[in-house]
């Protein structure tokens, strides 16, 4: 009977695990919904600020902000990497690392050095072990409700480096929330900002600027990049939750399958022991 008892305790422990994974799945599902709402809440700001920048860039053509000028020679680039703080979310972080490393090795082949700004502790744990990259800033433990204020410092380090000429380009490695089943890792260029050819120059009007066009543009560009990174972080939270939801769902399913198999094994063991006992009794009776 000892075999059957062992199987029974095993089933009980797997059932406990299944309870946990089920709970995590449901928590992740509800957190994902909230994260998606926050994601859509970032859009009006980003699109509005973008349209003002485009207008400013085309209106005040004599002033070229350094963020909008491509450098002829690229020696060192910066990359902001947005990762999660916690694991148990499938291949989310691993896929992002793969995409980032691909870009990094492509850059390194051209003898371009790389400065990293890592958001999230999973990214830090990974990139501190990678040689040849230089982590210049880091922020983690942002929680599920991220605030722009938490990211300002990290972004400023990169922007200051860009202004100072330490880095010549800036990239953002992020997870894109395609739908609740799919996330896509991507590395997108941030700086220099691509100059958008606006054909709307026909109607020639301009704003009044206070204090000056330059100062307004400075403030706008910094905020624009912050909002880009911020929405990437919020999107990453949504990705993390949906990836966790799927990972936990498959873990729960696997646990269910395992329990079924073990239950079968347990029943067989129980049957076998009953049959054995019966045959012993019968054998004993025949001997008497």
């Amino acid at each position: 009977m000892s075999g059957a008892k062992q199987i029974r305790t095993q089933i009980a422990s797997i059932k406990n695990t299944q309870k946990i994974t089920k709970a995590m799945e449901m928590v992740a599902a509800s957190k994902m919904r909230k994260a998606k709402e926050r994601m859509s809440a970032t859009r009006p700001y980003a699109s509005k600020i973008k349209s003002v920048i485009n207008h400013l860039a085309s209106a005040s053509s004599e002033y070229k902000h350094p963020f909008m000028v491509a450098r002829p020679e690229v020696k060192r680039v910066g990359m902001i990497i947005v990762t999660s703080d916690r694991g148990l979310c499938g291949g989310l972080n691993a896929n992002l690392f793969k995409a980032a490393l691909k870009k990094i090795s492509a850059l390194q082949e051209q003898n371009i050095e790389i400065d990293l700004s890592v958001i999230g502790s999973k990214g830090m744990a990974f990139f501190r072990r990678i040689s040849g990259v230089n982590v210049v800033s880091h922020v983690s433990h942002l929680g599920d409700t991220v605030h722009v204020a938490d990211l300002i410092g990290s972004i400023k380090v990169m922007l200051d480096n860009y202004t100072a000429g330490t880095i010549d380009e800036l990239y953002l490695a992020e997870n894109e929330f395609v739908n609740s089943m799919t996330q896509a890792a991507s590395v997108t260029p941030v700086l220099p900002l691509p100059a958008e050819a606006s054909e709307e120059r026909a109607h020639h009007w301009d704003y009044i600027y206070e204090p000056t066009a330059e100062e307004v543009l400075d403030a706008l560009l910094v905020r624009y990049i912050e909002s880009m990174v911020y929405s990437a972080v919020v999107e990453n939270v949504a990705c993390e939750m949906s990836a966790r939801m799927i990972a936990m769902k498959s873990a729960s399913d696997n646990a269910g399958g395992l329990i079924d198999d073990l239950q079968l094994a347990y029943n067989k063991a129980r049957q076998a022991s009953i049959t054995q006992e019966l045959s012993e009794i019968v054998g004993g009776a025949a001997a008497v």
Binding site: Y45, V157, W205, Y209
Partner: protein, 136 residues
């Protein structure tokens, strides 16, 4: 006559609707925007945005700085979510840098988290002691 007002921050949409006038704390002094105002872009300092709607009480929304954009029929306030100042931002940047250095110099993760917990326990004990001494 009304003008469309949108107040948005990077984190959320704060206000959207038709208003009669907006008074905003622009960096060179408060500005009042009425319909058909000339296009204007200005930085805002921390303060209250006053919204006037006919037949309703005035609304006040606090903004911690940001930008105001005026087009003939729409006014947009791009509100900051935190008070911004060069030295404050500088501190945040230094903090992010030191965190990177700290994380890079860490050896084994588990041992360190154990040490951090021990330090935390010590710090809270100290705080409790200080509180007790204050009360006494």
């Amino acid at each position: 006559m009304t003008i469309q007002l949108e107040i948005v921050s990077a984190e959320s949409e704060i206000f959207s609707g038709a208003v009669n006038a907006v008074i905003a704390p622009a960096i060179m002094g408060d500005v009042g925007i009425y319909p058909k105002h000339t296009p204007l872009v200005t930085q805002l300092k921390p303060g209250e945005v006053k919204i006037e709607i006919d037949g309703e009480e005035d609304q006040y929304i606090f903004v911690s700085g940001g930008l105001l954009e005026v087009q003939p029929d729409v006014v947009t306030v791009l509100s900051d979510t935190a008070i911004r100042a060069e030295d404050l931002d500088e501190n945040l940047a230094l903090e992010a840098q030191s965190k990177a250095k700290e994380a890079l110099s860490e050896k084994a993760g588990e041992i360190d988290s154990a040490r951090a917990l021990a330090e935390l326990a010590e710090a809270t004990a100290r705080l409790r002691l200080i509180e007790k001494m204050r009360k006494a």
